[in-house]
Symmetry: C2
Subunit: 554 residues, 2 copies
């Protein structure tokens, strides 16, 4: 009995592109077989991609998704790879006709076994599925599961075997890659079996898949790990099933928290742009921290030449905002265009007599209109610069700075924006390169510059306090009482949660962006817009308008 | 044993406003008791309102929602109504701690029994709930259920009783009120029991509740029915449990299909405006059919004085478009303001050199900017005029005509827009009033008027064909093959479904509007934006950009 060799194919599918995905799966299988693999495993939903939503319920797509598995099995035989066992995720229909996430085990042109999991976002009944199935390769018994938590129960639920194989398609959340690896190590040690974990990678709309596929010895120690956020095929030998730590077969380094988050945003942005057929992006450059970090992320994702930064100074723009925008563009090799907005703003204010917040929003909307005009003329994707703190409290102008097809920072709190900016500059320094973000963009007080001398803290608490309250109110869904217990001042709590509640209508129209935290707006937190509930004044919640007449603040 | 008298309280709650809802529930119970009711029934979720989404998972809200039921029970006793049995919907927690939709039966200050149903949109496990519970009032046995389908199984599943009581909170869908009444008639006849059905009423974000609460005799014939789309308290005597049709106690007339749909839109719009604290709405008046119907709907919902129509002619606007806008405003008593856009458009085209589609979108966006400026200055809610056909094919300018807080027509196909307009004018004629919509707005060829001589059919198939294809592709999720079988031309199918697929990103940013059909955008149909699946070219779906560089068409 020869040693079992395994290919862990960390794959970046394009959702819906069945034929393209099939061709690339075939290609990676060929490469793994050429390296002697007997078993090649892809993640869940590798054939269809994640996030198919209602597409997975259309008969034409379901039929094609079924047929493409048959085609793959046939092609494997025709191309001389019928002897390899290929584990690949797709979709299927259960006995009720509902769509399910199905992992197929292919061998010699046939489906040897398969494993169903309820498909997230489908209307399928949540039928309990078997936790695992098993099959043999090269005389070794493989137990296949689709979730780490199933693996955790391995010691009691799972029959003794030679390898526990977990195929996954888990949406990225900060810290999850590390937690996943710890969980699989525990599972392997508990089951006293080697464990292979294979995950998808890449961006798909609001989801980012992190990769980090790995092989763990029967003692729970790492034998091999692929990189994060990039495609990689690892071909590995099954470690001995005893208590010796197996020899390392190449363990990619773990990422620190900023490197991990930064890389997640970059891959989400790159895949949104390229998978949707764009070649360039456009964004406003205000000289502020959000647009600066966004431009650097875009340059890292696509190259500076594919980034168009637009400086749109108004009568209220400071000299440094123009200088910082130009400095940034030069550092990252982006294209800079300058469109002063004063004449455009004036023609509206003259005709409409707009003042106060209305005039502030007007400036932001004139800028949005310029960006969309450039997008329509030149085919750039517009990136929206809003961060999670701004989205939370509605500190953004709908149809103004909120325009865009994709919003890379929408799930990043403002305090984390600064942290990422500093991390990115230090990373450059460590590499002996010029830090991409002008220091003054990081250190100056944040300002929308929509009226003379305006700074964000005129109307918001300091961001470190704001973000701490938002973590409680938004991510933990804590009420006012729990926030008071955490020691925040009542007036600040009331200010913040009132702003958050009033901004729901704007959030529901905000562009898509990558989910990065446990509770992302749009993906995980939907509140009623029409909402009579008042945390701030329990039991007198009857008479106050909620959304209010003031539709938005700058 | 005296005759049982029942109060069916068709109630319009405000979501989240627990205290306000409690006070009004108490008030309606008082009124029913004053009319001799022994049993007063409100719909499911009457205390919390529908669509609480993630709010229902917040501990502060869950606690308050539990406490308010206790308070109601205590207030009933304190106010001398403890002897009445009150059936009222709210939320509760099941044994796993998950939030559930719970109907409480209150009597003498205590919860006599309750009935749980999984809460739509919560993350609660879908635990199977009992189909029905029963309790006694005045020596009569009442079987309580929360769904008509539970009621349908009454003859076999439900114990023999004196009354089958179904409490509901069903989202309106065209034709459902009629179907519901037919279903309850069948249930009553099958169970040989009188049946009372009580539903909520009113608008809540994208949901409309239709009312239509009714009492059916043991033979299935209608004894009483409340009106549709308005609050009403009916106090009724339990019909005899025999095969005689009971005497009518007031059956409101059924609505024809146009009257029903029109009323649903009006109540959704009125409740969105008033529950969110607005006093007026603003919309662009182009002289076209969509904005004309929208303005009339708004005037019917709020009164013409609360409607601001803005005529924003460009260099390409026809004379009749200005005349028709003014004529409409006069017919409905709306305020008309005129803001020509030529000077505003020119300042952008001069600075940016925008042409073609970019310039067409610019005009729409200048108009959007004007409407948002008026909203910010005067506190009007902006209404977006888009219909379902336009949303489907992306025939709308994002951040242009798509701006707004609420979009009353977004789930109405264009061909139905005309039908509703004609119906509304005929209704006025039947009442001896002036038809509100100028005839030429109905009869002229639809045009966005963004370039000289432009009409919609330059770039779209005739609407009757477009809408028929959309019914198949969007509502039935049919693929290309099924559409071909239905007899549509291949080129037209391919054109339409390509447009629909490419517009997903714009739909996901479109304002909220009422769900009126089985499959409403935003509520029931979400597709991946990044989507490699091509109905139009099966099995060669790999290389074409999907979203494409052209971000939007006018």
């Amino acid at each position: 009995m020869s040693q079992l060799r395994i290919g862990l194919a960390q794959f970046n599918p394009t959702t819906g592109a069945l034929d393209k995905n099939m061709s690339r799966i075939l290609e990676q299988t060929r490469s793994a077989c050429a390296q002697g693999a007997h078993l090649v495993a892809f993640g869940r939903l590798a054939m269809t991609g994640v996030g198919t939503a209602n597409l997975s319920e259309r008969l034409s797509f379901r039929t094609a998704a079924r047929d493409v598995i048959t085609q793959l099995a046939e092609r494997l035989v025709a191309d001389g790879m019928g002897g390899a066992t290929v584990v690949v995720g797709g979709i299927g229909s259960d006995e009720t006709g509902a769509v399910v996430d199905r992992v197929f085990v292919l061998h010699q042109g046939a489906v040897v076994t398969s494993l169903d999991t309820p498909l997230k976002g489908s209307s399928a009944a949540q039928v309990p599925a078997p936790a695992a199935v098993s099959f043999e390769v090269q005389g070794k018994r493989i137990v296949l599961s689709t979730s780490i938590s199933n693996g955790q129960g391995a010691s009691s639920d799972v029959p003794t075997a030679d390898l526990l194989l977990i195929v996954d398609a888990a949406a990225y959340v900060e810290g999850r890659p590390t937690a996943n690896q710890a969980a699989t190590a525990r599972s392997a040690a508990a089951a006293q079996m080697p464990l292979a974990y294979v995950n998808l990678v890449g961006g798909q709309d609001a989801l980012v898949l992190s990769g980090g596929s790995h092989l763990t010895s029967a003692t729970g120690s790492p034998v091999a790990r692929a990189g994060f956020f990039e495609e990689e095929l690892q071909v590995l030998d099954l470690p001995a099933q005893d208590t010796r730590p197996g020899p390392s077969q190449g363990v990619s380094p773990a990422l620190d928290r900023n490197a991990e988050l930064y890389a997640a945003i970059v891959v989400g942005l790159r895949d949104y742009v390229t998978k949707n057929g764009f070649r360039s992006v456009v964004l406003g450059l205000s000289g502020g921290i959000d647009s600066a970090l966004l431009a650097v992320l875009a340059a890292d994702a696509l190259g500076g030449k594919s980034v168009v930064g637009v400086s749109m100074p108004s009568a209220y723009s400071s000299e440094h905002s123009k200088v910082d925008a130009a400095d940034l563009a030069e550092r990252i090799g982006a294209n800079l265009v300058v469109h002063p907005i004063e004449s455009m703003v004036d023609v509206f204010t003259d005709a409409l007599d707009l003042q106060g917040v209305a005039e502030e929003n007007l400036q932001a909307r004139v800028r949005g209109l310029i960006l969309m005009g450039l997008s329509n003329s030149h085919g750039h994707l517009v990136l929206a610069p809003g961060n999670k703190s701004e989205l939370a409290v509605g500190y953004s102008t709908i149809y103004g700075d909120a325009v865009g097809g994709y919003a890379p920072l929408k799930d990043v709190f403002k305090s984390r924006v600064w942290e990422l900016a500093r991390w990115r500059n230090n990373y450059a320094l460590d590499e002996g390169l010029i830090p991409p973000i002008p220091e003054s963009s990081i250190t100056k007080p944040p300002s929308a510059e929509l009226r003379p001398g305006q700074v964000d803290q005129d109307s918001l608490p300091p961001y470190e306090i704001l973000d701490a309250i938002l973590a409680g109110y938004v991510e933990d869904n804590h009420g006012r009482g729990e926030l008071l217990t955490q020691g925040f001042a009542a007036e600040i709590i009331d200010q913040v949660i009132t702003l958050v509640d009033r901004a729901e209508w704007k959030r529901q129209q905000y562009p898509m962006g990558p989910k990065l935290t446990r509770v992302a707006f749009g993906e995980d937190r939907i509140m009623p817009i029409t909402n009579g509930w008042r945390e701030t004044a329990p039991h007198s919640n009857d008479n106050q308008p909620h959304q209010g007449a003031e539709h938005d603040a700058p």
